[in-house]
Amino acid sequence: MRFAGDSGDGMQLVGSQFTATSAVFGNDIATFPDYPAEIRAPLGTPAGVSGFQVNFASRHVFTPGDRADVLVAMNPAALKVNVGDLVDGGILVVNADEFDETNLQRAQYGANPLETGELSRFRLYKVPITTQTLEAVKQAGLGPRDAGRCKNFYALGLVYWLFDRPLEPTERWINSKFGKVPAVAQANTLALRAGYAYGETAEIFTVRYRVKPADLPAGTYRNLTGNQATALGLVAAAQLAGRPLFYGSYPITPASEILHELSTHHSFDVRVFQAEDEIAAMCSVVGAAFAGAIAVTGTSGPGMALKQEAIGLAVMTELPCVIVNVQRGGPSTGLPTKTEQADLWQAMLGRNGECPVPVVAARSPADCFWTALEATRVAVKYMTPVIMLSDGYLAQGSEPWRAPEDGELPALEVRFATDPATFEPYARLENGERPWAIPGTPGLHHRIGGLEKEHVSGNVCYVPENHQRMVELRAQKVANVARDVPDQEVFGAQRGELLVVSWGGTFGCVRTAIEQARDNGKDVSHVHLRWLNPMPRNLGEILSRFRKVLVCELNMGQLQLLLRGRYLVDAAGLHKVQGRPFMVSEVLDKVDELLGGKAL
């Protein structure tokens, strides 16, 4: 189900309403908003098209769906940009009123596609949404401009009818949102109902969808975007640790919502510092970690580049902190609002000197919660910065998230040094970490910094052998994190012809593809990596059990190189850098190609 219109048309709004309603209704859902980089691109042009895709089903949904079964296009540009993704035979609802000369030109349509027959492979419904809406909301007494604005609710009403959804949740929401302007609230409600009524009465639709509630584990659910989930995970982690959460960050798409979300949680002792830039943000994190906070920063690619020098400082000072990198299309400013996975090398290898940092990647919007929690736990346990990779697709997309129940959250123990008699700033503790001794602790004064440190004493030290040793100790410590990385599980057969490896936000899509492929009898299994550094201890062994390995990632082969270099497997790659997720079919095609038709 995809809504598409001009970015001023309120598509994100109705998209999220539809999501909420479906979620409450019990469907499993996954969403993927897609909006233009410009705040407000020119009206009616393809550049200005804003879309919102929702996937919902009674069985478990991993991805917002490659292609849409239903598309609502509010103008010619929205049609143009999105029609390629509508499945053959899919339902296409267009706002017929907007297909006039001007709009067609803006969308660079030579002729009116509603008339050329080029849409004949879809079930096309031309609905005069604008005029119907204006008609419907008349009694609310709004001016024509405000009245016209209600057309997104009209469209939503129509879709609710199509999928047999209740109107109440949205009506409630309208009232709470626009309660102060009763005319607007009334108009939106009228439009919503009119749309619903149109579906009911116009009888032009030949199908009506009825999607049953999905089979999710029991619990209390809430719909979260990846960025919200990350924020909640961080707050939870700090609460479990019993420390303040310090979040130093500089706004950047698509990471800003973490900052926004955290800014609303002051009561959880969340200390948000909107820094002057990413360097200051990361440096403030080093300072806050030294002073004993759970210290976190969040950013995206270009900001990550700026943080690297200070991440190096965190590595040298061995202070616990988390760096969230919500990846977007690069290089440089690139495609700021689009998704990509091309910061893996940057995260793993992009600093001066030998500078290893644990790296973990979330696999779905709701999983961001657990990943943030885990990243924090490891940071504190091993006294190290940890990089958490998310991406634009996860960050903006949403998914039902089951609220953890009592006892379900991991322990997150913070052990500060307290004993002046035994304290040595760079002594090694059981996991290879050094002690965390925070200012304010009597008698533990010590100095740390970016120059090489002497083993145990932590004094500045230029002795050659000490440097070698410290480089090795830091590497060993990061390698030790493998103790906290569970053995990798293989989905499908444990050995065989083809193993598909993926990481991060491609999980849903790749898993769906492999499920389908296996349902079709293909000899293919799936490994989805959560920890990229260190990798699971049994990974090399798993890789060796398959004749072929395929790495699917939204870059040009970054994990692929690392797996090849580390395990000497001749891994092939499926690469895509188009600012959008894989389509299940792309993965399937590649799998077919590599299997050469072989079955189980």
């Binding site: 949740p169 584990p217 939870a236 403030s284 994190v285 300072g287």
Partner: protein
């Protein structure tokens, strides 16, 4: 874990020394600043457990290694940002920033101005030797036009920036200047910094014996310095001279040096460090030797809530309104539904 703060009585300056050998060149002004600060902290009985020194990179930035408190020797230019994190995480700490003219004003200029405008409760000492010492002598943003250095053998072509002018331009609430070898005055200013709420900024004219020796000879030479400097004292007129025989008055829109013999004391500018409007402080910061005696002392010291106070205030207010931090409340904040 947060341990209650104890004011230590009878602490000696020696207790502020670390076991690390001080590695500055003989004759470097850094030595004096270190010693004076150790003395001042000791006299005030400042609690070493609650004191943190943060620095960047440079000769001056080695400072934390020699202070037996908590400390971070950071990366180049970023000390104020690191220190901001320390202060936000624990506003109870006394957080000092030590930086150089290159560290604090070249690469670190942005953090410097933002820290100042936010009024973060940090005590920032800028060791201004008008040169990059650690990297062996390139000109710095405070080097005078035409300075010949390794990177400007033909004379530098960058006009200098003036630290106090810049700080005041960035709305700093406390700005002062002292000279490394002028011990009692340096101690006085350091003490005043300790009392300030919000960002306290001190520029120290510091001698780099190796790469820019005697850059401040005019301000340190015991014979002549009183002709070249004027001490700012709150509520007092601006008088200077070896014989205290000259003063500063405002003529129209400009300062003017007058001989006291020829003018009445009433005409002299009376220093007001508490003036809410920073314009007069700015004007003082624009007095440069040799046209004028350069002011030493406290240009500005005004009251304004510090950043970390506003931060913790907001947290306290939220907690009051929303109640204790129960994860339940966090998790169940949105539109929820039940399955199963």
């Amino acid at each position: 874990m947060s341990v209650a703060r104890v004011e230590t009585a009878g602490i000696t300056p020696k207790e502020y020394k670390t076991d690390q050998q001080v590695k500055w060149c003989p004759g470097c002004g850094d030595h004096s600043i270190l010693i004076q600060l150790q003395k001042v902290l000791a006299t005030r009985g400042a609690d070493r457990d609650h004191t943190v020194f943060v620095s960047g990179i440079g000769c001056s930035s080695r400072f934390p290694y020699y202070m037996n408190t908590y400390g971070i020797h950071g990366i180049h230019g970023r000390a104020p940002a690191i220190a901001t994190g320390v202060k936000c995480a624990n506003p109870e700490l006394d957080v000092w920033v030590v930086t150089g003219d290159g560290d604090g004003l070249s690469i670190g200029g942005n953090h410097f101005i933002h820290t100042a405008r936010r009024n973060v409760g940090l005590k920032i000492i800028l060791f201004n030797n008008r040169i990059y010492g650690l990297t062996k002598g390139q000109y710095s943003p405070t080097s005078e036009l035409g300075t010949r250095t390794k990177s400007s053998p033909g004379g530098s072509i960058d006009y200098p920036v003036h630290p106090i002018s810049l700080a005041i331009g960035a709305e700093v609430t406390f700005a002062a200047r002292a000279v490394d070898t002028d011990v009692p005055h340096l101690q006085y200013v350091l003490r005043r910094m300790m009392e300030h709420r919000g960002t306290a900024f001190l520029e120290v004219y510091q001698n780099c014996q190796v790469y820019n020796a005697n850059a401040y000879g005019w301000a340190t030479d015991r014979q002549t310095r009183n002709e070249h400097i004027v001490y700012l004292e709150h509520g007092k007129p601006l008088i200077f001279g070896t014989n205290r025989d000259k003063g500063i008055r405002l003529r129209g829109d400009a300062f003017e040096v007058v001989e006291l013999a020829k003018a009445s004391q009433d005409e002299l500018v009376v220093h007001d460090e508490k003036a809410a409007n920073p314009s007069m402080a700015f004007r003082l910061a624009q007095m440069h030797y040799p046209e004028f005696p350069e002011p030493l002392g406290i240009f500005r010291a005004i009251e304004k809530p510090a950043y970390e106070e506003l931060l913790t205030g907001q947290i306290a207010a939220a907690r009051k309104k929303e109640g204790p931090p129960k994860l339940e409340r966090l998790f169940h904040a949105g539109e929820m539904w039940k399955v199963g």
